[in-house]
Amino acid sequence: MKDKGKIIVGLVIFVAVFTFPFWYNHGAATQAPEPELTEKAKKADKCVEETAYMRKEHMQILDEWRDTVVRDGKRLYVNASGKEYMASLSNTCIDCHSNKEKFCDKCHDYASVDPYCWDCHTYPEEKE
């Protein structure tokens, strides 16, 4: 019957669409990105908080910093172990992580995250 043909076509389309991830990647193994640290960052050894914490929560810290700095005018950040930092993306973060492309973008691109930091901030010329 001719409608069976249509159903088969429908099924083929269904399978093709639903298996998108499998064929889109051509079965190629991809390496999870490893953000590169600048010399300065390596020397500092530790960011404002523990690395594991930073990996999950850095956006939260930046969000808090923005609010405390812009709304309350407070520039002081005290981390979990009592160490003080200046709450500033441009002066504190980028001071070490001055390699956006090899640091920030690596994971953000991989995870398809498009932070709106740079809607307001400009990133200085990359230097390394």
């Binding site: 298996t19 969000d63 398809s112």
Partner: protein
């Protein structure tokens, strides 16, 4: 009151705990690799099998449900979509049904008001259903970012739109909230409306709780008990590229609960009412044109039946017919 939903809730909680415990005691490979692969396999084999099984049965009659004026005389305006006579009409009717839930949009509620029975147009069910299904759709598309590398434009564009409210960080995805909201509303409907409660069974509550579980664990991981997204993608990319592996750390047990729920849902589809996603395409009252009198529909098993022929009839009544001056074949 029918409280059978409690069993389904309990089942989902227990299943969640199993996955949680599994991840804690080091069965990450089972819950992160083996079960997801099995689930996907079951989904495709089961789904295709079910549809082929449907396809195997013929459509002996063209039993369109007509919801508008037929096409007859030139000067009477037909209803080319609700009562289609052409393939184009049928396609539009099906698209309206599949994409906009046309029939649910007609829904009414009966009310006895004094002496009068009224049938009020009610859109709640339609609204909840649209909200739920479209949220689900967007959430699924968004999740493709974990399964493809590089992430194509349409996915990031969808994320931008979905996150346009820019509330909080990580930014709120509207679809996540509406998925949870829609599923919850559909659930509350089943629990609170007496008639709907009466017809609801475990098989109705289970997938709802499962989906609520999926949405909740997902929302928790994104906004509250965060996971390392890069590690998660390392795992999911491993699955998608057939190079499975479990990342060393950064992926919490919560993630395995989420993944287990998704696996269960996917594997559950072919054996449950969730097959409506395929069935809707094949419903003969909707996907056939009402052109029966214009074009003959063929029944492949059209049986030979014993009929009472005119000759037999005349045998029975010939004398009476002759007496009444009704013409006969054999005098």
């Amino acid at each position: 009151m029918n409280v059978s939903y409690l069993y389904s809730l309990l089942a989902v909680i227990v299943l969640g705990l199993i996955a949680y415990a599994g991840a804690v005691v080091g069965l990450e490979a089972l819950f992160g690799i083996v079960i997801p692969y099995l689930a996907v396999l079951v989904f495709f084999v089961g789904f295709v099998n079910k549809v082929l099984d449907w396809a195997k049965a013929p459509v002996p009659f063209r039993i369109t449900t007509t919801c508008g004026q037929q096409k007859t005389l030139d000067w009477i305006k037909p209803s080319p979509i609700d009562n289609p006579t052409t393939t184009v009409g049928v396609i539009i009717r099906m698209l309206l049904e599949i994409l906009l839930f046309r029939s649910l949009f007609r829904n009414t509620r009966v009310e006895f008001k004094g002496e009068k029975i009224s049938y009020k147009w009610v859109l709640w069910l339609w609204l909840f259903a649209i909200m739920f299904h479209y949220s689900f759709f967007v959430v699924v598309i968004r999740h493709l970012r974990f399964f493809v590398e590089p992430v194509p434009f349409f996915i990031s564009a969808l994320e931008t739109v979905d996150g346009m409210l820019q509330i909080g960080l990580p930014g709120l995805f509207i679809s996540g909230a509406t998925l949870l909201g829609g599923a919850t509303l559909l659930l509350l409907r089943r629990i609170l409306l007496p008639k709907i409660n009466y017809i609801s069974r475990a098989a109705d509550y289970f997938p709802l709780f499962l989906i609520i579980g999926i949405a909740l664990t997902g929302i928790l991981m994104r906004y509250f008990i965060k996971v390392d997204v890069v590690k998660v993608k390392e795992l999911t990319m491993g699955l998608a590229s057939f190079h499975p592996g479990i990342p060393e750390d950064g992926v919490s047990a919560l993630f395995y609960v989420h993944l287990f729920f998704v696996s269960l849902l996917v594997a559950y589809i072919p054996f449950s009412k969730l097959m409506h996603m395929g069935g809707i395409f094949l419903s003969p009252t909707r996907n056939l044109a009402n052109n029966n009198r214009m074009k003959r529909h063929i029944n492949p098993w059209n049986p030979k039946v014993k009929i009472h022929t005119y000759e037999e009839y005349e045998e029975d009544f010939r004398e009476k017919m002759k007496e009444a001056d009704i013409p006969v074949e054999k005098e």
